[in-house]
Amino acid sequence: MSELAPSSAPADRPGHLELQSGARVAVVGGGPAGSFFSYFFLDLAERLGLDVQLDVFEPKNYAIPGPAGCNMCGGVVSESLVQMLATEGINLPPTVVARGIDSYVLHMDVGVARIKTPLQEMRIAAVYRGAGPRGAQERTWDSFDGFLLDRAAAKGARVVRERVEAVTWRRDRPQVKTRNGAPQPYDLLVAAVGVNGAALKLFEGLGLNYQPPRTSKTYIAEFFLGRETMGKYFGHAMHVFLLNLPRLEFAALIPKGDYLTFCLLGENIDDALVQSFLNAGEVRQCLPPGWQRPETFCHCSPRISTSGAVQPFSDRVVFIGDCGMARLYKDGIGSAYRTAKAAARAAVFDGVAREDFRRHFQPVCETIRRDNLVGKLVFAFTRQIQHRRFARQGMLRMVMREQQQARGAPRMSMVLWDTFTGSASYGNVFLRTLHPFFWCRLLWDCLRSLRPVRKTQ
């Protein structure tokens, strides 16, 4: 192996470490963050004429159904991310899209309302992160994570199908050791290991000031219903629930091919809360009559990041995706894309020193962090609505009228759409709720909510 010397501090830019041709980059984790980083890093390097070697370490086989080949996630690619990926030239093929989503159905105890996409177009993709649920008989889809990793490999990334056992320093460079290989030094080490699993502990030995994000437990389950039943009861709509259940922030049923994915977010989701949710009348009403939870089914309780990591970068090391910074509750894959691309831009165009990441990577993390603070306000507001029947009725009345009228701005519908889908920033959603017409309409509908609301379904 050649001695590493391609990254150095240029004389006119002290504190910077520029990557040059011949540099070696290690990406630990081949989920969306790792694959996006690899893809964009190699793409940007090619534009500059840099010849670099990039190794992605990912032991998971995304062709194996069940948890062994899955990165445990609800598997929704947001409307904005689908558009951005298409602009980047990454179009999700039908083999990867388990179902295109064109509308949301909002369920509350006071009624049901369908919210259609602004252009009535399927721009949200329900995907399987891995090869699908455990025990899937007839698999007609491909893994989303596998698709992205293949794209990175096609760009020139070398995929190493081994688990990383140790990450240490060799002089001033990080080195990576797998079970079957000798320690390999790199000019840049990218951590894209998420917040589930033990891989994050590998980085503790590097003596960084990094502190991992706080996390919360979620619940995801996959139930086989069959294509006909899925088409009849769910179609291309995702069903979201605003229920007055303690500790439950948000719940959704996501149609994917022959399966229905339950996704519950909130504060430490446990089995009692899952049972309360399944027993709720609003949920039963949406499922086929007589449906019972089977004895065995594929489910998991992954953790999601609820705050950003502290100091997610150092000299020659950067943390991206969930283990770096993620949006609160929504669009985790979108956050992976944003942080991965920001890190790739910083590494290729500026350098891999701590100062380079501070100036060119941290601003993106900071934007997400600030937006999450606003997101907490938005969810606090949503909770207030969840706890007050007259407010739920007022909100539902407003949505139903907007969906029935062809004219006029659908202010509440768009606020809910963007909050549920993660298509817009929380800041943008919050600003729109400050519009005087929004409040006048909502207050008027809340006052009128003394009269009963006619249910649509």
């Binding site: 940007l44 534009r47 409307e79 904005s80 689908v82 558009q83 951005m84 298409a86 602009t87 980047e88 030239g89 179009n91 999700l92 039908p94 083999t95 899209v97 388990a98 179902r99 295109g100 252009l119 009535q120 177009e121 399927m122 721009r123 993709a125 889809w141 088409g231 291309h236 091919g257 944003r338 691309k341 920001a342 831009r345 993106v364 934007t367 298509s423 920033s425 943008n428």
Partner: protein, 139 residues
């Protein structure tokens, strides 16, 4: 309709964008083909045929001009819309997002320039004009 596709389906001959209309989005072809047509008086000229992965209507993201051409589906085509607002808010954070658009627009400009020179060269009265490079904003 396949439940696993994204975007919107247009039938054979269906107009996706119409020359002269205002627009605030661009389109990315997911499946199928579309033809780009421009009307000059009573004559309609086919400018290009685009396929999966290609985009059109991108000028609307950068200019407020009316659509310069009509785009029609050739057979069944599935097309994804990219909103100007979504695109612009992301480009603000990540200017490199526009690179592929600029690259494609540059290729199209180069092709149009070549067409211009070829057309001018073949016309007996325009040969002297062919020696002069066309302006950068020739299309």
């Amino acid at each position: 309709m396949d439940f696993r596709t994204l975007g919107k389906t247009y039938r054979n001959g269906e107009v996706i964008i119409m020359q002269g209309e205002s627009g605030d989005c661009m389109y990315v072809i997911q499946t199928g083909e579309v033809e780009v047509l421009q009307r000059h008086g009573s004559e309609e000229v086919r400018l290009a045929v685009l396929g999966p992965g290609d985009f059109f209507g991108e000028m609307a993201l950068f200019q407020r001009e009316l659509r310069s051409a009509t785009v029609r589906a050739m057979g069944e085509a599935r097309v994804l819309t990219v909103d100007k607002r979504t695109f612009m808010s992301r480009v603000h954070e990540d200017p490199s997002l526009a690179y592929r658009l600029v690259q494609t627009m540059s290729e199209r400009l180069r092709r149009v320039n070549a067409e211009y020179v070829r057309a001018a060269s073949s016309h007996p009265f325009q040969k002297s004009a062919a020696a002069t490079p066309p302006p950068a904003d020739a299309p």
